[in-house]
């Protein structure tokens, strides 16, 4: 079945440093979505990427979808304490919807 690998599992950064999480699927995806889950909360939608090579920006967040539509990344520039949480990618294949295991981001003030 479809597998979605996400790395790193944990990332500790100093406030102001950059952060990147990577997602890789075993199968070609129709789209990929990114969610953020704060401690004790539920996943909240950030963005959806559909097109090969697509790049989208939301303020300090940059999302990329690979040319082969099998990998994706989320980059945060100049992290802030409000960025703390776990970031998940969700790969949508032909039949399956699969969450990555997530990257837990800690920001040291």
């Amino acid at each position: 079945g479809q597998q979605v690998m996400q790395i790193p599992q944990y990332q500790h950064v100093q406030e102001g440093e950059d952060f990147t999480t990577y997602c890789n699927s075993s199968t070609t995806l129709s789209n990929i979505q990114w969610y953020k889950q704060r401690p004790g909360g539920h996943p909240v939608f950030l963005i959806q990427l559909v097109k090969s090579g697509e790049v989208k920006k939301q303020k300090r967040l940059t999302f990329q979808f690979g040319e082969a539509k099998k990998n994706s990344s989320l980059h945060i520039t100049a992290t802030q304490t409000t960025d703390v949480g776990t970031y998940f990618c969700v790969g949508a294949g032909s039949y399956q919807l699969t969450f990555g295991k997530g990257t837990k981001l800690s920001v040291i003030p």
Binding site: H42, P43, Q48, L97
Partner: protein, 114 residues
């Protein structure tokens, strides 16, 4: 616009007992998902409904888990009998256009099986 509602928020049961969770999706959302999220892991899709039909239940342990979506609106997820490894947060989500649109998640039900 009201969000996805779930109840109860917390439940503690003993192993071999039964439990049921309820979800009310956002009005008009045709697609409803149930996920299991074990502590420290990503959500695992258990079942996906499109209106009141099942689209994907490939990861639902059908010997003990069951789910239904009455009239294409509310949904219930049942576990009978529960095992210790079922301790997790059960998340319900809904979307307007299946996997092509964002999912809105409810607050979840935290289940502890002792």
């Amino acid at each position: 616009e009201a969000g996805v509602a779930q109840s109860p928020r917390y439940k503690i049961i003993e192993k071999r007992q039964s439990v049921a969770f309820w979800c009310n999706p956002i009005s008009g959302h045709a697609t409803l998902y149930w996920y299991q999220q074990i502590l420290g892991q990503g959500p695992k899709l258990l079942i996906q409904f499109q209106n009141n039909g099942v689209v994907d239940d490939s990861q639902l342990p059908k010997d003990r888990f069951s789910a239904e979506r009455l009239k294409g609106v509310d949904s219930t997820l049942k576990i009978q009998p529960a095992k210790l490894e079922d301790s997790a947060v059960y998340l319900c989500a809904s979307s307007s256009r299946g996997k092509m649109s964002e999912q809105y998640f409810g607050p979840g039900t935290r289940l502890t099986v002792t």
